[in-house]
Symmetry: C2
Subunit: 314 residues, 2 copies
């Protein structure tokens, strides 16, 4: 459950008068998300999602909110933040930084077939292409520096075989040169629960609060590791081909990306193994969030080390 | 019918590559609107409306497109224009200025009851409040100056009794001082066919191409004359009270507005009588649009001269 801050109805009704969205009709907490408090908010004029930021520093929020606005105005189904009467996206509610965003329709699908994987591949390419003209810059907050620091923190809690896996992977990744790969703003967390399906169309792509600048291919690897993986952790070639082919049709992969693909799949697996291991072994006090098992991404990392399907292209 | 320019599919598919909206799947002309060519466009990533501007000068379009973007980002159900990969809203297609906007859901209701009239009143107030922070400025293109010029053009075509009505109304309006009324960006054409209902919610407010700066109350009068009028042209007090009450709850009317209300209802009726009379008597060559009968608004103008219900307030 992830409503960390309770918001009295009268307080919210007053706060909404800063906006031009009409009167509060109803609101309820949303039990999803791991670092913010989220609420569905219905007013006389529309349906929105209210987010109270519990962990992200206020100074970093304009990067995310303006990114969402940028992608939404490029026609992508991203929840655009709502500007208040002073034209500001970021407000304050119950002593937290707070933002209202559009509520998009649809629900996530945890068993997507190849058609939906293809749509997600095309959407990811669309996000990458639209992101190229985004003016603000922030490095991927879960990039190489975070990886090293987090590995040092969790290593003491791991059994010997996992320590060996971690050491070998860090040594391997240290040799990978990502500077030749196309860079841009990446979502960095495009898991199945962050895509809302409205019939066969993608009604929404949500949760941009891990976004940052990195190799675009890293984002593709994060997405394939979640969308195109069997319960045993292996890549399903049919779904993988569908996703990569649709992406490639919108933004063709480069030769450098084809060479780096196996390493990127491993880097993406490492990133989620590390964050889950940290949440598991070093939980932040006071957080009552669902801790996802680190073993899933440990196994995916091991399997990716044994090889990966090729990227499409000549 | 209002597709004045035919667009080849291959031309549109090429043109869409300037955007990050994926590949063209399907498109079709829309037989509505009186001065642009409109198309529904479906791509692999979303559903949009394409507009080719046939009459509005290119230099005036940024006012409208940025207004729509401004209102959409304030959380109102207005079709936001889509930025291309160079971050521009306005493009060129088939030698016309062209823009892609979000396609909103819903359909119009030509027989709205008091509940829907109340929602429209609240929405109109929301548009006015959000518009206060819009930075660009353009006067109402169908304001007092246009009224005088158009009256001079159509007067020779009118029978004697209508000439007398027109002369009397112009003389009356010349004495009305609107400078004391709250001003802002008005939609100026919020007829029933420009509101899309998605269940009981307003899914879209469309057609902002008559918008401009004027007395906010003039917009309320345009809206009441369409939404709250009986087939005979009289104001239906139940629908009128619902619309005005909901507007007043969001943006309270001022004393000056209450005094000016009967005159504004007449000014709003005059505006549509004049534009319809001009379309009827002086049709632009080559236009194959549905000409609405001028008599409807001539009769509404006559009836409003006989009195009007009061605005709510103290």
């Amino acid at each position: 459950m992830s409503v960390f801050t309770s918001v009295p109805a009268a307080t919210l009704a007053d706060w909404l008068r800063h906006y031009a969205v009409g009167r509060l009709v109803a609101f309820e907490g949303i039990s999803a998300g791991v670092q913010n408090s989220n609420f569905f908010v219905t007013t006389t004029l529309g349906r929105y999602v209210l987010t109270l930021f519990e962990a992200i520093p206020r100074a970093e929020l304009p990067f995310y909110l303006n990114l969402m606005a940028h992608l939404a105005r490029h026609g992508l189904p991203v929840p655009g933040p709502i500007a208040d009467r002073d034209n500001e996206y970021l407000g304050t509610l119950c002593d937290r930084p707070a933002a209202l965003v559009m509520r998009l329709s649809g629900r996530s699908d945890m068993n997507p077939g190849p058609d939906r994987c293809a749509r997600v591949g095309a959407m990811l390419a669309g996000l990458h292409l639209a992101g190229l003209s985004y003016g603000r810059r922030q490095d991927n907050p879960r990039g190489a520096a975070w990886r090293s620091a987090t590995a040092a923190r969790v290593r003491p809690f791991l059994p010997a075989d996992e320590q060996a896996l971690l050491d070998a992977e860090l040594a391997f990744q240290a040799e990978v040169d990502v500077s030749a790969l196309p860079q841009g703003v990446i979502h960095a967390d495009l898991f199945r629960d962050n895509v809302l399906w409205d019939g066969e169309h993608i009604g929404g792509v949500i949760d941009f609060y891990f976004a940052g600048r990195d190799a675009l291919l890293f984002d593709v690897a994060v997405t394939v590791n979640d969308w195109c993986t069997t319960p045993a952790g292996e890549i399903d070639p049919v779904r993988c081909e569908a996703l990569l082919g649709a992406y490639h049709a919108e933004r063709p992969f480069t030769a450098a990306e084809r060479a780096a693909w196996p390493a990127m799949l491993r880097a993406a697996a490492l990133r989620f193994w590390l964050s889950r291991a940290e949440d598991f072994h070093l939980p932040k006090s006071g957080e009552m969030v669902l801790v996802k098992p680190p073993a899933e991404y440990r196994d995916i990392l091991r399997l990716r080390g044994a090889g990966a399907p090729c990227l499409p292209g000549v």
